[in-house]
């Protein structure tokens, strides 16, 4: 292992190092406020490393001006198990941004804990390490280990509260996560049995030799792919593997839920795209149909059940399921071709997924941060308790309204553009029916998002008590809100970044 190899994997290493140092720091400092400050400052190191790696892969300025200028730059280490390319770096930046914002928004919550403050931040950072690794993992075992590294700290975080609901959430997440991991591991084993390799490019060349797509003839491959889908389905909270979502969203500490809902989901989508586009593109026409169906089911189930929720966190749980569906539309749209035949790559599909994840991260974090502040003051997550919020906390109410409008997908917000992009991709990928299902679902979803706005603005407040906001929450909300507005008004930069990232994805047709 040379120094260069260490440089290539340095961003996740740096994040882990910051996590360890935070825990150690907790032992020596008295002023616990120093912990998040240290974590945030520490995150500058991996960020700079990511920027340096991005520069190494090609001149940034050229890239932003014309995508034609980009080469196929990538660096792989550890026998090809980790690949650092622009696709991985895109998610690296996304995860780091989300992590930093979540740490900021957690400050108030963590301060109320009596002990283990350092561990909280440490666990968040370890999970982020896993996510960054996940984005560049290109070998099944590495993927599995990174996934576990992502999930296990979140299990601990979900149970961080001493309340029974929190413990229950952690326990459920652990068990369902274990079941999903087992299912996925079994799938990976089958794929290994079929292809004699765990490396994605190796798998791709074996898969390309198969004929007839996923069918009885290739039963091992078929079963393996389906089991891997099931495993990823758990991570991205897609139906029918979504049952855990509302319980965890309701029980786990709210900042943890915010982290889980965006960063963990983004990393899972990153590895999903890499595995399926790089590894299994030879049978793309088959899993494309599967993804399309999962997308339709997720959107519909999420939106329908969300309508009858009275707890805002459960509501956001179902909302997360629905959005996983919208994003899966983009995944499905990237392959064009009929089942059993060869598939053509439609780059708009993954492009739209990346943009959607960026937009969703900003909007969902904004909404969750507002919920964190409001919930910590009122002690309730019932939607009815949001009555008259515009009088009690005008800024928060307006920010939350903006985020909800964005989540509906009303122009000119970021998720409107993301949905437009995803559905355009679906039409281009020959999935017009899915676009129609998606549009209908978007309309349906307006019902439950707008209900919250109605309660906040039209119903009288139960008390006149103002809801104060600490400076750290303020910064977190302002930053995520600004990112949300920016992606709606001037989406060009992120769209281009997504385009650049997807262009380096090795798709083997």
């Amino acid at each position: 292992m040379s120094l260069y190899d260490i440089y290539v994997i340095s961003p996740p290493l740096a994040i882990a190092m910051v996590g360890i140092l935070v825990i150690l720091l907790d032992l020596v400092v008295q002023r616990k406020r120093a912990l998040p400050a240290f974590a945030l400052v520490g995150l500058i190191v991996p960020t700079l490393l990511l920027v340096a790696q991005f520069q190494d892969l090609g001149n940034t300025r050229d890239l932003l001006e014309s995508p034609a200028a980009m080469g196929n730059g990538k660096a792989s280490v550890l026998l090809g198990s980790l690949v650092v390319d622009r696709f991985a770096l895109f998610f690296g930046f996304l995860v780091l941004a989300a992590t930093a914002l979540v740490i900021l928004a957690s400050v108030d919550y963590v301060e109320r804990l009596e002990r283990r403050q350092g561990e909280y931040y440490g666990l968040v950072l370890f999970s982020a390490t896993g996510m960054v690794l996940l984005a560049s993992a290109s070998e099944l075992v590495t993927i599995y280990i990174s996934l576990e590294l992502t999930t296990l700290p979140i299990v601990a975080l979900a149970a961080f509260h001493t309340s029974s609901k929190s413990s229950e959430a952690g326990m459920k997440f652990l068990i369902i996560g274990a079941i999903s991991s087992a299912v996925m591991l079994y799938g990976m084993a089958l794929v290994f049995g079929f292809t004699q390799t765990t490396d994605l490019t190796g798998i791709a060349s074996k898969v390309a030799e198969t004929t007839g797509g996923l069918s009885f003839e290739n039963l091992a491959l078929l079963t393996g792919v389906v089991l891997i889908v099931a495993g990823f389905g758990f991570k991205i909270s897609s139906a029918p593997f979504q049952m855990w979502v509302p319980d965890i969203y309701e029980g786990a500490p709210t900042p943890v839920v915010a982290f889980l809902s965006v960063a963990s989901k983004a990393a899972a989508f990153a590895v999903l795209i890499r595995v399926f586009y790089t590894g299994f593109f030879g049978v793309g026409a088959d899993w494309g149909v599967l993804m399309a169906i999962l997308a339709a089911v997720s959107m519909t189930v999420g939106n329908l059940v969300a309508m009858s929720q009275s707890n805002i966190r459960r509501l956001f749980g179902y909302s997360a399921i629905a959005h996983a569906g919208y994003i899966l539309v983009g995944v499905a749209a990237g392959v064009e071709g009929s089942s059993g035949g060869t598939a053509a790559f439609v780059s708009v599909g993954p492009n739209s997924v990346l943009f959607y994840l960026g937009a969703y991260t900003a909007a969902n974090l904004t909404a969750f941060f507002a919920i964190v502040v409001i919930g910590s003051r009122t002690g309730s997550d019932q939607i009815d308790d949001y009555a008259g919020m515009v009088q009690r906390a005008p800024v928060l109410a307006i920010v939350l309204t903006l985020a909800l409008i964005a989540l509906v997908g009303v122009p000119p917000t970021s998720i409107f553009i993301a949905k437009l992009y995803v559905f355009t991709a679906a039409v281009k990928g020959g999935l017009a029916w899915l676009a129609i299902v998606g549009v209908i679902n978007s309309v349906v979803s307006a019902y439950y998002y707008l209900r919250i706005i109605r309660v906040m603005f039209l119903q009288p407040p139960p008390s006149d008590e103002r809801i104060p906001m600490s400076p750290s929450s303020w910064v977190a909300i302002a930053a995520s809100g600004a990112a949300m507005v920016w992606m709606g008004v001037a989406p060009g930069f992120v769209l281009r970044a997504a385009e650049i990232a997807v262009a380096t994805l090795a798709v083997q047709t």
Binding site: S180, A230, P240, V305, V348
Partner: protein, 691 residues
């Protein structure tokens, strides 16, 4: 030299003024509302200067490098923010900024003391920047956004005195009727969007206006991207939007009602700029229109018919602003007709001269209102003794409108008539002949109603103004601009203040001299080359016209046509003089209504005064009967008996699917969740194996 930043600044400065007035001055410093007008005037002065620089650069043939900012990719169609600087843009930018600047200065006096002073200038700033954005952009989607923004700000300005029901209704009417036309533009854009793949295959962008111009040119063996029926519908869609905005028949009826807004608004929006946006829009896509002969026929005939019909209605109006409103509709008809005949330069030239003299006339009407408190000409008369300067300026504007040598309107109208006379081969000969006849009669009518307006307002004896009107009607005067403040609601016969007269003088100078930018006869008169403006516009579109496309009609000055049109105009003036110059003494209060000489026309007069019953047709037949009763009634029935039932059923189903079938699965028991994962995986596997 013109840089890209200075081109953007033309549009951004008024926008910045809007932001500052609306977000800073009005909420926090409303005590200093007076600042808002000055701020906008300063911004517009700089914009005007930059526009003139841009026009100079374009005229010299120095076109700056303009960068495009990619805003959004939609597959093959890219939405870019980039300015388009060609002669049409540069001339329009100068017209909009200069007229707007004059109108704002005038408004300082006219709106003085109005409680909505800052709001007024905020709307004006919004309108001006939207109009400039519309003129500047190179992307049809962005153009559409500005087109609608212009509509919205016009709505706000017409309904500025929203506590008056008439103003609120007029604002609504204007918005709805123009929206009907806008649908055409939207359809045209959608059509382009569906062609985006073909554009991309040719290396073009379906939303980029210069690329749309190129798309009508044949591409090798494959033919043009835009051709045939598709092209006809595309151009008709764009024209529909132009018909709405420019008040052409059959969507003209909103413009006279829009006079409910403050008079400076009418001068800016409903005389010089927004209504000209329709003409501009057709001009913007002129290379495309030139390839669609059947559309051009429609454009020519609708334009000429509107010119004639609106002029007839202008004959009998007694409200001075309504006379001018119909006159505006009529003159826009002239421009449209010229566009239809292939005389694109002549149309825009007329737009420029019309902007100056019609804005002047409207400001004159405001000045008269300032003195008399009313807009009803039956209560005016004899004002030339009291307001000599206004009188002189209105006469200049009026004669320019009539087209009397050597005022600007003479030159531009003459070019349109010459184009109709010579035909030019863009449309069939019968079309240009029919156009010529309608426009010729229009000249006679224009002369008549203009002089009637001047005589009724300024000659004879004063007939009492707003006070007499209130006595006669026993009610508040209608059309009076500021009743609430009482500032110029009252009667004070005197010349208007300097801030109001000075802009009128400048516009008056424009109305006199602007005609010479066409310089029809001489070589290099005062530095203006022969046929300057005509050739400027020709050079603007020539590069994108292929050799086999129909040529633009470039009229040369014709002494015969000039003589004939002058004679026709003089006949009109003579008739009006005979009927009104002396007779105007006769309308003294109580008997005034019976003495308008035109009322001898009996039923014909009534037909005109009722605007051909078109408003009645729209409101009673189309809106009340067809829409409310038949259509809305049917929809209502459907809604109550079918949709609601289905809606109830679906809502019940959905709610219960969620509650009965899905929610119970959510038991909270982790075993059930694990089971769901296993079952889900199994179902997928089976699905693959069985399907």
């Amino acid at each position: 030299m013109v840089s890209e930043a200075s081109v953007w600044a033309i549009f951004l400065l008024p926008l910045a003024a809007f932001v500052i007035i609306a977000l800073v001055i009005r909420p926090f410093f409303n005590r200093y509302a007076g600042l808002s007008g000055l701020l906008l005037i300063a911004a517009l002065a700089v914009s005007l200067f930059l526009s003139i620089l841009a026009l100079g650069a374009v005229a010299m043939g120095q076109e700056p490098e303009l960068q495009a900012y990619r805003w959004l990719d939609l597959g093959d169609a890219v939405i870019e923010l980039s300015p388009l600087l060609d002669p049409l843009t540069a001339v329009m930018a100068v017209v909009v900024t200069s007229v707007s600047l004059m109108v704002q200065i005038y408004s300082l006096g006219y709106m003085k003391g109005d409680p909505g002073y800052a709001r007024y200038f905020a709307y004006m700033a919004l309108f001006t920047s939207a109009m400039l954005g519309l003129v500047l952009v190179a992307n049809i989607l962005v153009l559409y956004a500005f087109w609608e923004l212009v509509g919205v700000s016009s709505y706000l300005l017409i309904g500025f005195w929203h506590d008056r029901p008439a103003a609120a209704a007029a604002a609504k009417k204007a918005f709805i009727i123009t929206r009907i036309g806008d649908l055409g533009l939207l359809i045209a854009i959608l059509y382009l969007f569906f062609q985006a793949d073909e554009f991309a295959a040719a290396g073009m962008n379906a939303f980029h206006i210069p690329d749309i111009w190129q798309a009508v040119q044949p591409l090798g063996a494959g033919g043009a991207i835009l051709a045939g029926t598709g092209l006809t519908w595309l151009t008709l869609g764009i024209f529909a939007a132009a018909v709405g905005k420019s008040g052409q028949f059959p969507l003209h009826s909103w413009l006279p009602d829009a006079m409910e807004g403050p008079t400076p608004v009418s001068a800016l929006i409903h005389a010089a700029t927004m209504v000209a946006a329709g003409v501009f829009l057709v001009g913007r896509f002129y290379p495309v229109f030139l390839a669609a002969e059947s559309t051009l026929t429609v454009v020519a005939l609708i334009g000429a018919f509107t010119a004639l019909m609106a002029a007839t209605m202008g004959l009998v109006m007694n409200d001075i602003k309504r006379v001018m409103a119909y006159s505006t509709v009529s003159q826009l008809g002239y421009m449209m007709a010229a566009l239809g005949l292939g005389a694109f330069p002549a149309a825009i030239f007329h737009l420029v001269t019309h902007a100056s003299f019609k804005a002047l006339l409207f400001l004159g009407a405001g000045s008269v209102n300032h003195a008399t408190g009313t807009f009803n000409m039956q209560y005016m008369g004899g004002l030339r003794q009291h307001m000599p300067l206004t009188y002189l300026l209105v006469v200049i504007g009026g004669l320019s409108l009539v087209g009397i040598f050597p005022l600007s309107g003479f030159w531009s109208k003459d070019e349109i008539l010459v184009s109709a006379w010579t035909g030019g081969g863009v449309v069939e000969p019968w079309v240009s002949q029919a156009t010529l006849i309608m426009l010729g009669i229009g000249v006679l009518l224009t002369a008549f109603y203009t002089l009637r307006m001047i005589y009724m307002t300024f000659h004879g004896e004063f007939r009492g103004g707003v006070e007499q009107e209130q006595l006669d009607t026993g009610a508040d005067s209608h059309g009076d601009d500021v009743q609430d403040t009482g500032d110029h609601g009252g009667l004070h016969l005197a010349e208007s203040p300097v801030v109001m007269v000075a802009p009128m003088v400048i516009l008056g100078i424009g109305a006199v001299v602007l005609g010479f930018i066409s310089n029809p006869q001489w070589i290099d008169l005062f530095g203006v080359p022969k046929h300057w403006i005509t050739e400027l516009f020709e050079h603007g579109v020539a590069p994108v016209l292929s050799s086999d496309a129909p040529h633009l009609v470039l009229p040369k000055f014709s002494l015969q046509i000039a003589a004939i049109s002058t004679v026709i105009a003089l006949i009109g003036i003579g008739l009006a003089t005979a009927m009104y110059a002396r007779g105007s003494r006769q309308y003294s209060s109580a008997v005034r209504r019976d003495r308008d000489p035109l009322e001898a026309g009996g039923p014909l007069h009534r037909l005109l005064a009722e605007k051909y019953y078109i408003d009645a047709l729209y409101e009673d037949a189309v809106v009340r009967l067809a829409f409310y009763r038949a259509f809305a009634g049917a929809i209502d029935w459907l809604d109550k008996n079918v949709v609601d039932r289905i809606g109830d059923v679906i809502a019940t189903i959905f709610r219960n699917v969620g509650r009965i079938f899905l929610a119970p699965l959510q038991t909270g028991e982790v075993q059930a969740y694990g089971l769901a994962v296993a079952l889900g995986t199994l179902i997928i596997l089976l699905g693959f194996l069985l399907v």
